[in-house]
């Protein structure tokens, strides 16, 4: 059977649909000659910012985009170990009933994924108007941890507070969890908003994100995957790598490139332009190989 790495090489060479980002997670443990925690190669898929329920000129095909992405993921020759949705599963609405209806429809479509290990975190569109109530009814706790093949995963909720705070209680929970981790533990954080001040004037920040980063800073092998900004983006704070994912609804302009963060115009000639999802391959020494894919196979 073809292994994962061979498959990715083949698709990168022959398919043309794969974009290797060329940016990897930090590898301080290997550089320092430390023994990393036992791990096994694996990969997962990150999907983000579906905004189910959105209607508007920014994506006239909104009813189909998510379904196309699900079909594309299901068509992968080697299926991922799990899938993570990094928030804004639904587009916001003031109507609590409609919010739950959108979540139910989202869940129906997500249930079509071949991979059945699927993790969810909320975005502000899912959770900020009811402090996460509807999200938790449908998807369970909005912050949690899990282990997978030697990697410690932490899901942080920085959206259930409409003011974009993680909050003291969750920060205490994070500290308590981190206190149990070795300094060289492989840690991956999932969150919706950037934990650092990417563009505060566009609300691309977490109000107390600096406190979370301070708690994570002593750990040498931390990588953050997030959404919110509807585009691929990579940034380092200290030795922590932060990777933002494309959306599945409409792209937003480059950080700080214009006065307002209005969606980029929809292109009828290329209706999925700027949309996509990614594979994250966990490799030795805290390296993460990222591969970006379009919504539908090319």
């Amino acid at each position: 059977m073809m292994d994962r790495r061979s498959f990715m090489k083949l698709t990168a060479i022959g398919g043309g649909a794969v974009f290797m980002s060329g940016l990897y997670g930090h590898a301080p443990a290997a550089a320092a000659g430390k023994t990393a925690a036992p791990y096994e190669d694996f990969y997962f898929v990150q999907l983000s910012d579906v905004h189910w329920g959105f209607t508007g000129a920014a994506n006239p095909d909104a009813r189909n985009t998510f379904r196309k992405a699900v079909a594309t993921v299901n068509a992968l020759a080697v299926q991922p170990d799990f899938i993570i949705f990094t928030g804004d599963l639904t587009h916001t609405t003031d109507d609590p009933k409609e919010r739950r209806q959108r979540m139910a429809e989202f869940k129906d479509i997500a249930a079509g994924l071949t991979v059945k290990t699927v993790h969810f975190i909320p975005g502000e569109h899912d959770a900020s108007l009811d402090n996460g109530a509807a999200f938790q009814e449908n998807f369970g706790p909005s912050n949690y941890t899990f282990e997978h093949r030697g990697v410690h995963f932490i899901a942080l909720d920085n959206v259930s507070d409409p003011g974009a705070r993680i909050g003291e209680a969750q920060l205490a929970w994070l500290k308590n969890d981190l206190d149990r981790q070795a300094n060289d533990a492989r840690i991956v954080v999932f969150t919706h908003r950037p934990l650092f001040d990417l563009v505060p004037k566009w609300d691309w920040a977490t109000r107390d994100g600096d406190q979370a980063l301070a708690l994570l800073a002593p750990y040498r092998n931390v990588t953050v995957f997030y959404g919110h900004i509807h585009q691929e983006h990579h940034h380092m704070t200290g030795n922590i790598a932060h990777h933002a994912a494309k959306s599945l609804i409409f792209p937003l302009p480059a950080p700080g490139s214009q006065e307002k963060r209005t969606p980029l115009p929809w292109d009828p000639a290329a209706p999925n332009k700027g949309l996509g999802w990614r594979e994250v391959e966990a490799q030795a020494a805290n390296d993460y190989k990222l591969a970006e894919f379009p919504v539908a196979g090319s």
């Binding site: 587009h91 409409p162 566009w202 609300d203």
Partner: protein, 127 residues
């Protein structure tokens, strides 16, 4: 706030001066206003500030007097590191004395619904 009163606030904020601005909001809600402070009334409502463009002079002490209509909107000027929560039912005062000319964007940083992303404005500081 009824329509006439809201229009009055808007007119006041658009340049009829400090005296009218004071009259446009409840006098008892304004606290500790110094004699040299200009008061600018601003209404925050889904998904717009009125006015959303405010011109100030460098060194001019002002009090931004916010009335939030329908939600606890936020007010955040990242480049001045000034922010406030705007509690409905009361006037929220934000004091500032701009030191440097330029344009300073501000935004609502409490997620308030579909359209939240559009709720922003700018302060223009001139010499």
């Amino acid at each position: 706030m009824d329509r006439a009163r809201r229009q009055f606030c808007i007119r006041s904020a658009c340049g009829f001066g400090a005296l009218l601005a004071v009259a446009a909001i409840e006098a008892q809600d304004l606290k500790n206003i110094a004699g040299n402070e200009r008061i600018i009334a601003i209404e925050a409502k889904k998904f717009v500030y009125t006015p959303n463009e405010i011109t100030l002079k460098t060194g001019e002490p002002v009090v931004l007097a916010f009335t939030a209509i329908d939600f606890m909107h936020g007010f955040f000027i990242p480049d001045m590191k000034i922010r406030a929560d705007l509690q409905p039912g009361q006037v929220t005062q934000v004091r500032l004395t701009p030191a440097q000319a330029g344009e300073y964007p501000f935004l609502c940083d409490n997620f308030c619904g579909s359209g939240h992303e559009e709720m922003s404005g700018k302060i223009i500081v001139t010499d």
